[in-house]
Amino acid sequence: MSATEIGPRIPLGAWIESGVDWVTDAFGVLFDLVRTILVASFDAAETLLTSPPWWVVVAVLSALAFWAKGWRLGVGALLGFVVVLGVDQWDNAMASLALVLVASFIALAIGIPLGVWAARDDRVSATVRPVLDFMQTMPAFVYLIPVVVVFRAGVAPGLVATIIFALAPGVRFTELGIRQVDREVVEAGHAFGAPPGRILRQIQMPLAMPTIMAGVNQVIMLSLSMVVISGLAGTRGLGREVVSALSTIDIALGFEAGLAVVILAIYLDRITSALASRSPVARALQATAAR
């Protein structure tokens, strides 16, 4: 039984489409500006990662792992990047890393302040929550269609789709972290006459930092998971390799590009979770737990 038998079909899709068309026309200049900024940021990040000789980049990334966690992660990172080089995916991996870094940075720059606002105002929280649910559960491919229409093929639609998809945990974890801060400690700030900005900066943010860092980790992991999907929009990097392997049934290429994604994922995950446990509050809590 089709819906038309019980009533007229709702042309929801058509409405959305005409809405997108209208937005594209009306805000064309704005979108061009956004596109220019996104492409420039991506190019800058990619240049930073690919213009030095590969061994310099490998050394810096491994040293970062060593500093964040210890020699095991340092050596592991080194081996991982050598494998990526060995299967000739280095340039693609760096393009994907640039995409992840730019998208995560923008998603956090939007998400953390929004999370702070939501934590301070219940109405904002109630408004933001369903929007985030929508953004996170809508199949990620669906974003690509209007985004490609608006931003045309290339890096920009991949970045925008990634940012939308990865935004939610940044907001949620920030809100949760700040709401979880011991009420008495916040009260102490008020009781000694600290203004709200100071309480946010010196009490709420530091005490929420372990939770916010877990959100940062999630944002980065979700960005990486969008890498393959954004390949569909023609974004350079490992995603495009996977997509082309899929369309030519090239098992070898598909596996090599996929493995490079896994190595990047493990690297980014371990680094961000190590950084989370280095915040002053996390350390103080570890000291308490050790007693």
Binding site: D182, E184, V185, A191, G193, R283, A284, A287, T288
Partner: protein, 425 residues
């Protein structure tokens, strides 16, 4: 001089607080207006004089914490006025309120509310940092406050490295360093172990004698209220049911509720061993040998000592003559020289159960925890004193505030002279 004055103060949480207040004023009971909101404080009026320790006592849910939080504007009253000095806390602007908190009123919290990632010194200096006092001056004043509460030398530690009692000392130092004349204390000692709690109470009384702050102290513990308070307000279900000195509350309870509370104080079944015990004077660890045991007794100027093992578990009582005789005979292990003449009681044992053990011996009755560790002792005189607050209160006759300030009748343990810096092992 009146520092704080509350007049007809209501605080109702919920959807229609204004209507709830109107009905409460018209005589409705707390339960009648629950559909409109939850009345936390109902028609509270009192004044606090300069230099006074004013205790608000009530069980949990009686509204005492809400009342306290209205005294520094953390909550605004739904109706009624609260004045701190010249300022009306109901209508003051947010900016003036912050200034008032920085300069006039500070607060000590039940769970300490310290910043875990800041050092003890930085925590103590928090109020000064907020006020914009420069670095050197800030460190100097915070250091002085820490010295005052007996935490000199701990400046660079993190709160996590301190015991509960020491953390609350930091909380107290933070409030003292602020240099405000009014101190609000919200169940400040309730989260601490009984002996530490009493040390803190004694220390607060001492500090109060030298500093003369105006203190509003919230507690659910009547003994604590009696020890600290010049005057006590008893709260029940949001209402203040009686305000008076401890003598007045004990001898002229305003209604059955207060009477019941006070009756409980007199009853030996409510006071526990843990609440009256004092530090044992002479404790000998089993490895010390007869010579060590005798030295310990001589230093403590007693003729008997408690023998414990390495984990502080009580093994028995040593008498000086037994130890001397044993030493002559060449006995090396102290365990052979103990007597079984004292019976230990548990921390939670009511005083009623301590009379029999106390009558058997002139020695203080040892108090042990669940693991059999010696945590304190009860000398007979302490037991008798704990029984007698009502009589001594009546003996004072007039029940004047001044008399209560110098010697609250509930303070039975003047003998407890533990150093302020003592730390829980």
């Amino acid at each position: 001089m009146t520092i704080l004055a509350a007049d007809g103060v209501f605080k109702v949480f919920g959807r229609r607080p204004g209507e709830a207040v109107r009905q409460l004023r018209a005589g409705a009971s707390r339960d009648d207006v629950l559909a409109l909101g939850t009345p936390a404080v109902i028609d509270a009026s009192f004044t606090v004089e300069a230099g006074e320790t004013f205790v608000v006592m009530g069980l949990s849910g009686s509204g005492k914490s809400t009342l306290l939080r209205m005294l520094n504007g953390l909550w605004r009253p739904t109706a009624g006025t609260i004045r701190l000095g010249d300022a009306d806390l109901g209508s003051i602007s947010a900016r003036d309120l912050r200034t008032l908190r920085q300069e006039r009123v500070s607060m000590v919290f039940q769970h300490f509310a310290l910043l875990p990632h800041r050092t003890v010194l930085e925590n103590a200096a928090y109020a000064l940092a907020v006020r914009g006092v420069d670095g050197a001056e800030r460190r100097r004043r915070a250091g002085e406050a820490l010295e005052m509460v007996g935490l000199g030398g701990w400046e660079d530690h993190l709160p996590a490295e301190l015991s509960g009692g020491m953390r609350q000392r930091v909380g107290l130092a933070r409030a003292l360093a602020a240099g405000t004349d009014v101190l609000l204390m919200d169940e400040a000692f309730s989260a601490l172990d009984p002996l530490i709690r009493r040390e803190m109470q004694d220390q607060l009384v001492e500090l109060q004698q030298s500093l003369g702050k105006t203190i509003v102290f919230i507690t659910h513990d009547l003994n604590e209220a009696m020890r600290l308070g010049d005057r006590i307000a008893v709260m029940r279900d949001g209402r203040i049911v009686q305000i008076g000195t401890s003598e007045q509350i004990l001898s002229e309870p305003a209604n059955d509720y207060v009477a019941q509370f006070v009756a409980d104080v007199d009853r030996t079944r409510v006071l526990t061993a843990g609440s009256v015990m004092v530090r044992p004077r002479a404790v000998v660890v089993v490895g010390a040998g007869p010579r060590g045991a005798l030295r310990e007794m001589r230093d403590a100027q007693t003729s008997a000592a408690y023998l414990v093992d390495r984990n502080r578990r009580l093994l028995g009582v040593l008498r000086d003559d037994d130890v001397l005789a044993g030493q002559r005979r060449g006995v090396e292990t102290l365990a052979e020289l103990t007597r079984d003449e004292v019976t230990a009681v548990g921390v939670d044992a009511p005083l009623a159960e301590i009379f029999a053990p106390s009558a058997e011996t002139p020695l203080p009755v040892p108090v042990v925890d669940d693991d059999g560790r010696l945590v304190g002792v009860i000398p007979r005189v302490t037991l008798l004193e704990a029984m007698a607050p009502t009589e001594s209160a009546n003996g004072d006759g007039s029940g004047g505030t001044a008399a209560a300030a110098s010697a609250p009748p509930g303070r039975t343990n003047g003998t407890l002279s533990a150093p302020a810096t003592a730390v829980r092992a």
